[in-house]
């Protein structure tokens, strides 16, 4: 058993709300952040809708210096900085502006690919033999660890500063990595979370695989349909979620507000064997992961009031539900409430896990369980065996 770890600050840039209060209100009201994207139409995408946080220009000036804003063309980085600085501030922490790094403070903040738009600019310049005109910020905007480097510099952190990258798992994985590091006594405060670009170059590959819905370009709000019989695929999204994880000792010493305690967790891989592939789950792995998480947390399945599912609105939603049910040994009336925020925000790819962790913890803060949208036609085949609607 390691040290106890708590969550003392949060920040979020979600398609349906920027900042904790806006996001919480949107989830409560079932407000969709999925909108028509003229850029995707112009590029002749099959799916021309997406979830993209709406960032006002004057908001950027509060987070970036005029110099940092020059040539900044990495949307994920922008979302990550806004969410990250908000979380730090929410935790009652100040940026370290002293001469010495703060050895107890670090960053584990993940992403998939950073700054695809910036990278595109760079490729055009390089191919045009203008490599000397790339400027000094191409590297930090396009490297995966750009977001952790950016935040680490803004906050003066001297502990581990890194970015993890593991597709849709990235955000939740970052929280677990931070939990492990603090529990084992290697850090006191870690800013963790993840971000993902709003970008046709990120989303295009998914459109090519024909796993995005194509029939909702005129009705974006109805497109993302987790657990629905008429689900057509996931709606691409983007944004960032950030959480400050801290040792209980440190939080108590500072008199910080404590949102929640991280009791435990588990991560594994389906090995891309059996029924599993890079994208499809291996049920044995999923059930093992759930059971070990419950075990690590030192709780019983019956203690669980609510589950926030991955539930992306593909045909695998039914399998996810059955895996939860089997792993927990709970079904019908005894199965906990389950929801998916993806009906409102889409699948924010690398940012999904962290945004949804923030939303889940806001439920504890507000004392509510946010509802699902677009699943009035609950998938009949599997769900009725496991859950009550």
């Amino acid at each position: 058993m390691g040290r106890r770890v708590v969550i003392t600050g949060m920040g979020v840039c979600a398609p349906n709300g920027v900042g904790l209060s806006e996001f919480s209100k949107a989830l409560y009201q079932g407000k969709s952040g999925i909108r028509f994207q003229s850029r995707l139409k112009a590029l002749e995408f099959g799916c021309q809708i997406a979830g993209e946080p709406l960032i006002k220009d004057n908001l950027l000036e509060q987070y970036f210096t005029p110099l940092q804003l020059r040539g900044l063309n990495a949307s994920g980085l922008v979302y990550g900085v806004i969410a990250g600085k908000d979380a730090w501030d929410d935790a009652g922490l100040k940026p370290n502006i002293g001469k010495s790094p703060n050895w107890d403070h670090g960053i584990i903040f993940g992403t998939g690919m950073s700054g695809a738009d910036k990278f595109r600019e760079a490729i055009y310049k390089v191919d045009n033999k203008e490599v000397r005109r790339l400027g000094s910020t191409t590297v930090v905007q396009t490297m995966t660890s750009g977001i952790s480097a950016y935040l680490g510099g803004m906050l003066g952190c001297g502990n581990q500063v890194t970015s993890n990258s593991s597709a849709c798992t990235t955000g939740t994985e970052s929280v677990l990595m931070a939990y492990d590091r603090i529990a084992s006594g290697k850090a006191e405060v870690l800013l963790t979370g993840s971000c993902s670009d709003s970008d046709p170059y990120i989303w295009g590959g998914f459109d090519a695989m024909r796993i995005l819905p194509r029939d909702y370009n005129d009705d974006p709000g109805a497109a993302s349909r987790p657990m629905s019989a008429s689900a057509q695929g996931f709606v691409p999204g983007s944004g960032a979620g950030a959480l400050v994880l801290e040792s209980l000792e440190s939080a108590k010493k500072r008199g910080a507000k404590i949102y929640a305690e991280v009791l435990g967790g588990e991560i594994n891989s389906g090995g891309q064997v059996g029924e599993g592939s890079m994208t499809a789950p291996n049920s044995e792995a999923v059930q093992r992961c759930i059971q070990r998480a419950v075990q690590n947390a030192g709780i019983q399945p019956k203690d669980i009031d609510a589950i926030n599912g991955h539930l992306t609105a593909t045909t695998k939603d039914a399998l996810e539900i059955s895996n939860w049910s089997k792993a927990l040994g709970l079904q019908g009336e005894r199965f906990p409430y389950i929801n998916s925020f993806k009906g409102m925000i889409g699948h924010c790819i690398a940012a999904a896990g962290s945004i949804e962790c923030v939303g889940s913890i806001l439920q504890l803060e507000e004392g509510v369980i946010y509802g699902n949208i677009n699943c009035d036609d609950l998938h009949p085949r599997d769900y009725q065996n496991y859950i009550h609607s």
């Binding site: 110099l67 000397r132 005109r133 400027g135 000094s136 910020t137």
Partner: protein
Amino acid sequence: MQETEKYQKLKDIIQIYLPEDVSVNDIQPSSNFVTELNINSANLVDIILDVEDTFDIRLGK
């Protein structure tokens, strides 16, 4: 373009790269960007690009 106008444009370019504790009034024709104006040396390449764009010139490799 007059020399004074060029100098003013150059100061406008440099201003954005100055750290908070250095004022635009500290810029002198003989100032060293890094040792006297405390400009981050990584930004020198950006200043060159700004000069090229502002004066529509190329400073070579």
